[in-house]
């Protein structure tokens, strides 16, 4: 214990803050992309319409079953090789992680929608509500409550997963930590501080989802 020296690492705080900001941006972009795409995929799956269902199914299974690290590398190195052009390290990671997390959100949302009783659809139908209004006002608000806990877990998983972007040199939190430990030869202290930073980032997300759950639970009675 006496050999551990944190003071030296703390001196790098401006770099750590930069890394944290990149991690936040990376998380925000990929979660946003994942939520929108995930909902679209869930609806495509739930619709049962073959030409929507099958592509959505293929997408989800492809991105669920291959490593996100490989997906990031494909997008960063593979895509330019295949079709030309290129994405910078930040956007490659953000898009790859977004596509990956969309597959997980899609399955969560699909289960949430399927969990709503068929009679709710029927009640909306006999009132003359169209599909869009039925989803927006009847089905999704109820599904939201059921999907909050797994969605929160998945968001937290994604925030930590942004560390994979290190592999292509995106200057996010873990990458910054690695550079600091190379300079200081203090990997244990550096990575401990990095881990604490991830906790500081993710724990408020957990609290926020708990608060949302409480809010939506109360409004039902």
């Amino acid at each position: 214990m006496g050999d551990l020296q944190f003071g030296q690492i703390i001196g790098y705080w401006p770099d750590l803050v930069d890394g944290i900001l990149v991690t936040i941006k990376l998380s925000a972009v990929s979660v946003s992309l994942g939520l929108v795409l995930g909902l679209a995929l869930a609806l495509a799956r739930y619709s049962g319409i073959p030409w929507l269902n099958w592509p959505a199914y293929a997408f989800i299974e492809f991105f669920r079953t291959t490593p996100p690290l490989v997906q990031i590398i494909w997008l960063y190195y593979g895509l330019p090789a295949l079709v030309g052009g290129d994405l910078n390290a930040f956007w490659s990671a953000a898009v790859a992680l977004g596509l990956n997390i969309a597959a997980f959100f899609a399955e969560i949302f699909r289960a949430g929608i399927a969990g709503i009783d068929r009679t709710q659809w029927q009640a909306a139908r006999v009132l003359g509500l169209n599909l869009g209004d039925t989803l927006r006002f009847v089905i999704l608000p109820q599904a939201l409550r059921n999907v909050l806990p797994p969605t929160g877990t998945t968001v937290i998983y994604l925030v930590k997963g942004t560390a994979l972007a290190t592999a292509i040199g995106t200057p996010e939190l873990l990458r910054v930590g690695q550079l600091i430990s190379l300079e200081t030869f203090r990997p244990v202290e550096t990575l401990t501080i990095v881990a604490i930073a991830y906790f500081v980032l993710t724990y408020p997300i957990a609290l926020a989802f708990q608060a949302l759950e409480r809010r939506f639970a109360v409004s039902r009675t």
């Binding site: 009783d117 009679t119 709710q120 029927q122 009640a123 139908r125 006999v126 009132l127 003359g128 509500l129 169209n130 209004d133 006002f137 009847v138 608000p141 109820q142 409550r145 939506f216 409004s219 039902r220 009675t221």
Partner: protein, 267 residues
């Protein structure tokens, strides 16, 4: 067979409904005139609820046609010719209100929002107008003090009355009631039947599937007895209850009255 009425509101014409190989409705034809209350009785599995669901557009039919106000709203998938005009059929669908056995209120919305949602989204009604309408309807069903409450806080009878108010908010020309008191505790049945009686007195056209023979006797203009997917007999209530023409009707009513008599003794 009664004489054909001038311009029935609803025409069910030789409807065949199958689930896979099982025929649930077998060439069912039935007219409901404006302002009429028609009660459909029959053993479970006789197809009476399916008939209402087809009429409400919740189930496709394989053969025959269903017309509301002379517009085809549903046509057999196996029939030749073009499908019904979707826009016109959709408009007429709004004229058909339905109340379910399990209420099916939207649990995340207040009673007020349950009622105003469809008028606002489907009829394009303004918020104030829709809420004024909801308040009036809630007064009619005796729930004026429950407008801000979520359905979970209501008793079954109150939920069902709220569901009736929700259906009425679309100003339907005909109301379908699918065993609406079957899921209720016995002491709550009366308040829902009272609401339905008042609705009938106000001239609403109603098609009611129920096991409440007292309601059928007092309120119905005609009673239809269904068995095994077909209409066995149709007659005014005084006739069908005192001298049913068909043996199957008689057997069903005897079983039912026996059970009701038993219940009465228990109470």
């Amino acid at each position: 067979m009664s004489a054909p009425q001038a311009q029935p509101l609803v025409v069910i014409d030789s409807v065949v409904k199958r689930y896979g190989a099982e025929t649930v409705l077998d060439r069912v034809s039935l007219n409901v005139g404006a302002g009429q209350v028609m009660v459909v009785i029959g053993p479970s599995g006789s197809g009476k609820s399916t008939l209402l669901r087809c009429l409400a557009g919740l189930e496709p039919i394989q053969k025959g046609r269903i017309l509301v106000e002379d517009v085809v709203v549903s046509k057999g998938t196996e029939e030749a010719g073009p499908p019904p005009d979707a826009a016109a059929a959709g408009r007429l669908r709004h004229e058909v209100g339905m109340v379910f056995q399990s209420f099916n209120l939207f649990p995340h919305l207040t009673v007020m929002d349950n009622i105003t949602l469809a008028p606002r989204r489907v009829r394009g009604m303004g918020k104030d107008e829709a809420e004024a309408l909801a308040v009036e309807l809630l007064r009619r069903v005796g729930l004026e003090d429950k407008r801000g409450v979520h359905p979970a806080r209501l008793s079954g009878g109150q939920q069902q009355r709220a569901a009736i108010a929700r259906a009425l908010a679309m100003r339907p020309r005909i109301m379908l009631f699918d065993e609406v008191t079957s899921a209720l505790d016995p002491e709550l049945v009366g308040e829902v039947l009272k609401t339905m009686r008042e609705l009938a007195e106000q001239g609403m056209t109603m098609l009611v599937v129920t096991h409440e023979m007292g309601f059928a006797r007092d309120v119905a203009d005609n009673v239809v007895f269904m068995d095994r997917g077909a209409i066995v007999e149709r007659a005014p209530p005084d006739r069908i209850f005192s001298e049913p023409a068909e043996a199957r009707t008689r057997a069903f009513l005897e079983r039912l009255l026996e059970r009701e008599g038993g219940n009465r003794r228990v109470r």
